[in-house]
Subunit: 247 residues, 2 copies
Amino acid sequence: MLTAQRKQIIQNELSRAGRVVARDLAQRFDLSEDTIRRDLRQMASAGLCQRVYGGAVAPSAGGLTDRHDHLADEKQRLARAAVTLLQPGQTVMIDAGSTNTAIARALPVNMNLTVATNAPDIAQILTGRADLRLIVLGGHYHPDLGACLGPETRAATATLQADWLFLGTCGLDPTVGVTGFDAGEAEVKATMAAFSDRTAIAVTGEKLGTTAPFPILRLDRVHRLIALDQPELIPFVDSGVSVLAAD
Amino acid sequence: MLTAQRKQIIQNELSRAGRVVARDLAQRFDLSEDTIRRDLRQMASAGLCQRVYGGAVAPSAGGLTDRHDHLADEKQRLARAAVTLLQPGQTVMIDAGSTNTAIARALPVNMNLTVATNAPDIAQILTGRADLRLIVLGGHYHPDLGACLGPETRAATATLQADWLFLGTCGLDPTVGVTGFDAGEAEVKATMAAFSDRTAIAVTGEKLGTTAPFPILRLDRVHRLIALDQPELIPFVDSGVSVLAAD
DNA sequence: GCACGTTTTGCACGTTTATGCAAGTTGTTA
DNA sequence: TAACAACTTGCATAAACGTGCAAAACGTGC
């Protein structure tokens, strides 16, 4: 394994869980803790993380405010565009993911929506919404993905028929389609897509053109791609995907 | 667990409840109170909190009302007593309710617990706990009860067999037993009790001796009643209920 | 092929940090 | 004031840390 690749994985873990433990990483990569500490030290001096006794945590808001704000802003714009797809009285599934969390926050009021989600954080946000029906798709919670997975989740999904699915995505490629990092994740996402009339994907720029190991959905099953207007969208448009460009 | 992570959790608790108790934190993190006090001292010198006898309070906290403080304090004490029932490796169901939310917050770390809940707010709290397995019992969310109900919830519950159930209660009477205000609620609670070896009820004083329309559980099926020591408990003790008096 | 420099990794060493315990002190309450 | 809980301080121990160094892997130029 390349050291750069290892650092990338550590960084992913950091941004996902907010923290990493040196001992765990050493065991996971089958390396000495010295090597992991060296990685963390280098990443810390590059501002990518913050060393703490025992491991490292994601950089404090101060150092990374600009990038974080920018991403939050992009997701908010995607969310505003995404909710324009919805009509009063419809049923919508919302998959896990930070962009989809932004969509949940942006759901318009008094549209008599029914919302189903397998993400506990989205469910928690929507518990405060007396103007819509909330259906929690339960199952075994996976901390890495922030979502419930497993046969229970798929069974709960199969009791519904939604008008729209907002699908979270790990990778999105013009030829391969939607892919995920985890087999169980891929199964649940595919089930959600099967029990929804239409599927929409709101995606931030850095995920366009990337792939992950497990296929979820072919691109011709994606009815709407929501993204900021950017050159990377062209291959998708050429593939016949209906793109909704957020302003 | 990283010490930085622990301090972060303490700070979250501080901003949420406005105060923390050293003894509770020590129990929850399975550390000596000395260590917790050291943390609080360091956080205080950094201006993150203000030391008080027994724990710490938020720096510029605008104080909660007396009544709210009192109820929160009672629930916290009940929670502290409730979690002493748990043994490492056990599976526990947690029903909805503010007292049970306090129990979820008080779950000790690194006990290899499996926790299942039909309350989205409890699920949300436990998503941050990497040291336990979380199972979300989905279904249709009822805003009035803060819980998921319905056949989906019962089906999800029936896939489990728990060691303990922490049951929320609307009414608790020495002769009638546990009762609820809603038929669907009663069904789900009864199902949870059926798929748990033992049932514990942590209850604040004002609910003792009250009843609601829908029966849930006879008193002889309640293995532990957790409450502050008070005269109202006497009829329950006389009925043969094992009472755990919180200090 | 061979010499050379670079990168990566593990190990040894001394240092720092986190934690629990003991002893003595301070604060709270009856 | 007496009893008790919470507190501070000092100390011992174990874990994690940083640094220096050497071995191995790798590429590069001759």
